[in-house]
């Protein structure tokens, strides 16, 4: 396949892109027309001038800024935690020799098949016994370190650090942890950035766990705030303009992050795949 692709290939990819982008455009249209116009036939196809008005109605119904702050805090904290612990564990699995290392790595991969529903009830009970329900920490706790993160860092570090470099640091008298900081971390930096970005997005978009653990609390994330926006007063259900304005507001932060870092995200997803 060395020839330049024909127009058909571009045409199909462009069609796929339009399909990917259109729902976002639609959400913006509905979020920017009046409530009455949003429910009329035929549906509007061009944006109106009422987005700010709808947005201010969203701010009246839910504490958007606090939810945004919580989402940033929880996702940021989880990303840092996942990156730190996954890099440590990935380095250990990739570069250090210890008894049981292969079996333990297989176990890590297998944990990825356990559905979260299986853990919901005991976790909720534990958390409510500890008085942690309704806190940001409770949302972040399942995200301290992930099996995917450990696996991803291991795959990356196997090839990224020459064994000679570790030996040299050890001969110079570095302790194990200093060797980790001075040799492994600099080599792991690109993968750490990608894993951090990926985790940030995963935690940001998580819904079921925050919904359960934040039930009836003032603390909400952007996703559970959308759920509240939907259930607030019952007439909201027919108020598509309000719902779509809220959806847009909740989506824009991640969209900006994607525009700034999407290329790295693509690289990361593809890297994780080839070596996996």
């Amino acid at each position: 396949m060395t020839r330049r692709p024909r127009a058909l290939v571009y045409g199909l990819l462009a069609a796929f892109f339009l399909g990917s982008a259109f729902p976002l455009y639609w959400s913006f249209i509905i979020g920017s027309v009046t409530r009455v116009r949003a429910s009329q036939n035929p549906p509007p196809l061009l944006p109106g001038g009422h987005f700010l008005e709808n947005a201010s109605r969203v701010f009246d119904r839910i504490d958007f800024w606090s939810a945004l702050g919580n989402s940033i805090l929880i996702s940021g904290f989880s990303a840092l935690s996942v990156v730190l612990f996954s890099t440590l564990a990935g380095y250990s699995f990739a570069k250090l020799r210890f008894r049981g290392s292969n079996a333990l790595m297989v176990f890590v991969v297998m944990t990825m098949a356990v559905p979260p529903q299986l853990a919901l009830i005991p976790l909720l009970k534990e958390f409510s016994n500890l008085g942690l329900t309704g806190t940001q920490f409770a949302v972040a706790l399942p995200w301290l370190v992930t099996a995917f993160g450990v696996f991803f860092m291991r795959q990356y570090l196997v090839d990224a650090i020459p064994d000679e470099l570790i030996d040299a640091a050890r001969v110079d008298g570095c302790s194990m942890i200093r060797t980790f900081w001075t040799v492994a971390v600099p080599a792991a930096r690109p993968a750490m950035a990608i894993l951090g970005l990926f985790t940030f997005m995963q935690v940001w978009t998580d819904f079921m766990w925050p919904l359960l653990v934040l039930q009836g609390s003032d603390v909400q994330t952007l996703q559970t705030a959308l759920d509240q926006l939907k259930i607030s007063p019952s007439q909201t259900l027919s108020d598509m303009a309000l719902l779509q304005a809220g959806t847009m507001l909740a989506t824009v932060p991640l969209l900006l992050l994607f525009i700034a870092t999407g290329r790295h995200l693509v690289t990361g997803i593809m890297q994780g795949a080839v070596k996996g």
């Binding site: 396949m1 060395t2 692709p5 571009y10 199909l12 990819l13 796929f16 892109f17 990917s20 982008a21 729902p23 639609w26 959400s27 036939n41 549906p43 612990f85 996954s86 440590l88 564990a89 250990s92 250090l96 020799r97 210890f98 333990l104 944990t111 098949a113 356990v114 559905p115 529903q117 299986l118 853990a119 009830i121 976790l123 534990e126 409510s128 399942p142 301290l144 370190v145 450990v150 064994d163 000679e164 570790i166 050890r170 978009t205 819904f207 079921m208 959308l226 939907k230 259900l237 719902l243 959806t247 909740a250 989506t251 969209l255 994607f258 290329r263 997803i269 593809m270 890297q271 795949a273």
Partner: protein, 327 residues
Amino acid sequence: MAQTTASPAGGHGGNAVLDRGGPPRRYRLSRWDLKASPYLYILPFFAVFAVIGLYPMLYTGYLSFFSWPRFGAEHGSAVGWANYVHVLQDPVFRKALVNTVGIFLLSSVPQVLIATVVAALLDTHLRGRSWWRMSVLLPFVVAPAATALIFGSLFADKSGLVNDVLGGLGLSNVSWHGERLASWTAIATMVNWRWTGYNALILLAAMQAVSRDLYEAAAMDGASRVRQFLHVTLPSIRTTLMFVIITSTIGGLQIFTEPRLFDTNLQYQGGADYQYQTLAMYVFNTANSAVDPYPRAAAAAWLLFVLIIAFALLNFLVIRALQRRSA
């Protein structure tokens, strides 16, 4: 100081020389550092998994054999398989089981097929390659909750765009929230929209690892592009394809957010007649119900897990059988 890393070069012979000079105390510390550090570094993962994965999972299993009328108090007496029997006889559970499998089939099959085609399109010498790759990933940054609200509006029964387009084509309106198959289609569309591009990138990575010599050899034999795709590309990426199929199975059977937010009533039961309630929703809703909520939800959660394992195994066996036959 004794040191051994995974390096075959750092053999014991060389270290013995270094060991001799060190003072005993420091030597012992360093020895301990060497032995314990690998385990210390992986400890956080296993500690977290024990607390948020393994223990809750086993406790869920244990709980499913007891009665436990209300949250807060300790659980009641052992009831054997009664919770499982109750769940399996519950008509809502049976509906949810069928819905889950139906939505899963409507989402995973087209998703894997389209992702493979998109990956093949991306695996050409495109101009603006990284732009195109980013473009297919766009829906991935839209959270499932937002996705559900957007598609809930596109598929609105009265003023939705989809029905408007159908009307323009002279077709009658579809009750996207009311009819069972229609609601499955709408929910599967959300899943496909969000995940097809992501899976395409994973398949693209596998396609790029295929040796270009194979294509050239096939081209010299006069194989068309389509034949090259079928006989060179597909066999080469089968491991990745299996990975994509199995992960989309595991994810697809757990679907929760999309159907929950697609609901237009406030009971979150997945439609007036439970026509699109999924098993994950059933677990969640049972945990919020009146009688023995937790043991019954626990039993339902284990049944869901068994279903996921069964489907993943089935996938694996079918794919392996197909490979054997083609080999």
